[in-house]
């Protein structure tokens, strides 16, 4: 099943409440996905560096190693903000690749959740409420964010199998459905040099979109071509640095509903995920059409 939520704010005055709204939307979708949950949040701070969000099953140990040694080894300033099993590392863009390699050497079990100027991804196994609480998602601010509650079908219930999947700088994707050609597409993408870490179908969808955009496609074009190259059921919500996009497969049996006001564009697997948003009763509410791409940008 799975539940998807997303919120793109047009009104800057709501940015401080982004995490609060997303948390409430996410928890409403618990019945659709009680296995695990995740949120990608795009913050509004104009920081100059890049953030790497990492995750560890032994955060005390691993994050202390990274705190004490990473900056010295890569010879640059690194900020470390620990949030439960996750930590956000801040540094200059040109040190990111080296930092990832060094993190892999120092702490092989640390996983990279996302890399980007604005994106932070928090995801764990457990009920959406517990996941949101442990990271205090409701206190986070930002310009837009997407969330997912998972009911696993194609791969195991693990942190790495939870959504969102990030396969490009400031990019992420959440998925309701299941892809049937993910194995062959994974092989093709890997041959093209794309790094795909899991056996999960959704990660292949995310990597496909990132690959297309890396090849020069816009988000609109990448989502359009996914309708040709991906086989299976999907409602995708894809986040980028400045917005998000939506596409549903031509059969469109995975639900999706959107609401737009002067203040925001909201996405939910069901209408009840949207009912507590401000002035929802005055919003334009519609179901995204099958095989049709929608994109919103700041």
């Amino acid at each position: 099943m799975c539940g998807i939520v997303g919120l793109f704010l047009k009104d800057q005055g709501l940015q401080a409440n982004l995490g609060y709204f997303l948390t409430s939307m996410l928890i409403t979708m618990t019945e659709r996905g009680p296995d695990s949950a995740g949120i990608a949040i795009y913050d509004s701070n104009k920081s100059t560096g890049v953030k790497i969000t990492i995750q560890s099953e032994h955060p005390d140990n691993d994050f202390e190693i990274i705190r004490s040694r990473l900056a010295v080894i890569i010879d640059t300033a690194v900020t470390v903000v620990v949030n439960d099993t996750h930590a956000v590392l801040g540094m200059d863009m040109d040190k990111v690749n080296l930092a990832r390699q060094v993190i892999g050497e120092l702490c092989p079990n640390v996983r990279v959740m996302s890399v980007g100027e604005k994106i932070e991804i928090y995801k764990e196994v457990g009920l959406p409420k517990n996941v949101a609480d442990r990271f205090s998602i409701s206190t986070m601010s930002g310009t837009h964010g997407i969330g997912h509650t998972r009911m696993a079908t194609e791969s195991a219930v693990t942190t790495m199998g939870a959504h969102p999947f990030s396969t490009g700088i400031d990019q992420c994707l959440v998925h309701n459905g299941s892809l049937s050609n993910h194995n062959s597409l994974r092989r093709k993408l890997r041959r093209a040099g794309v790094v795909i870490e899991t056996e999960n179908d959704t990660e292949v969808g995310a990597a496909y979109i990132s690959y297309k955009m890396q090849q020069g496609s816009t988000l609109q074009e990448a989502l359009q071509s996914s309708l040709i190259d991906l086989d299976g059921f999907f409602t995708f919500l894809v986040g980028t640095k400045d917005g998000f996009g939506v596409v549903r497969d031509p059969i469109a049996c995975k639900p999706a509903i959107m609401a737009e006001t002067d203040q925001y564009v909201a996405f939910g697997s069901e209408y009840r995920a949207l009912v507590d948003l401000p002035n929802i009763e005055k919003a334009t509410v519609w179901e995204p059409e099958p095989a049709t791409v929608y994109v919103w940008k700041h």
Binding site: A252, R272, P290
Partner: protein
């Protein structure tokens, strides 16, 4: 009139009260507040009562309905009036996927648009949609009438049995074995009755009729290997 506010009553309490009317039917008129997109509201009713939902609902509103009239002052999620046996369900807004699926009887009126698979496997229900319907509507429809005052999406009436389809606007494409058919006087009479009952101003003569070519579900020796 009885008013139930889902802000402080559970769905189970609401449905138990409404379903209990089947033995007594002591209260004829009900109003439900704060549905907030909830699922399975007013399902399994079996009494000639009148229920108005003040807002939008989620999955399976008024499923398995018998005798009751359920009105929604908002939009509904997937599977509204699924497997309805009799009675009437009126949606003032839009309906999501598979509205009226597998319905055996009764009348479903959607005053906005209905999404994909409207009337899928319909078995005798009458459905009137004031707006448009999505793709794969009336798939494997066996009996009943689907009236669309707007346009129909792709693959209308795919693998149709004997349901009758009436569309006023355009049809994006017809499904396998669904064909345009002659509008005979008996069809105009059906349309006139259904449009009147549902409160539509559309005129019967503005519609075209579609039905099964009957080539798919009858045994045909030429299809055998």
């Amino acid at each position: 009139m009885q008013i139930i506010d889902l802000e402080n009553k559970s769905l189970r309490e609401l449905n138990a009260k409404l379903q209990a009317q089947s033995s007594s039917a002591s209260q004829k008129v009900w109003e439900v507040l704060n549905p907030k997109g909830g699922h399975a509201i007013a399902t399994g009713l079996n009494a000639p009562i009148d229920v108005t939902i003040k807002g939008s609902t989620g999955y399976y509103l008024a499923g398995m309905n018998q005798l009751a009239t359920v009105r929604v002052e908002g939009s509904v999620g997937p599977g509204v009036a699924e497997n309805m046996m009799s009675g009437c369900v009126i949606v003032e807004g839009d309906a999501s996927q598979y509205a009226g699926a597998t319905g055996n009887g009764g009348l479903l009126v959607v005053k906005g648009n209905a999404s994909s698979r409207c009337g899928i496997s319909m078995k005798g229900i009458d459905i009137v949609v004031f707006g448009n319907i999505g793709h794969m509507s009336a798939f494997m429809g066996q009996s009943g009438n689907l009236v669309v005052c707007g346009s129909a999406g792709d693959a209308l009436g795919d693998s149709l049995y004997e349901a009758k389809l009436f569309v006023r606007g355009s049809v994006k494409s017809l499904g396998a074995d669904c064909v345009k058919k002659e509008m005979r006087p008996e069809h105009l009479i059906i349309l006139e009755e259904l449009l009147k009952k549902s409160g539509s101003n559309a005129k019967p003569k503005e519609f075209r009729r579609y039905g099964s070519a009957r080539k798919l579900y009858n045994f045909n020796i030429d299809n055998a290997y």
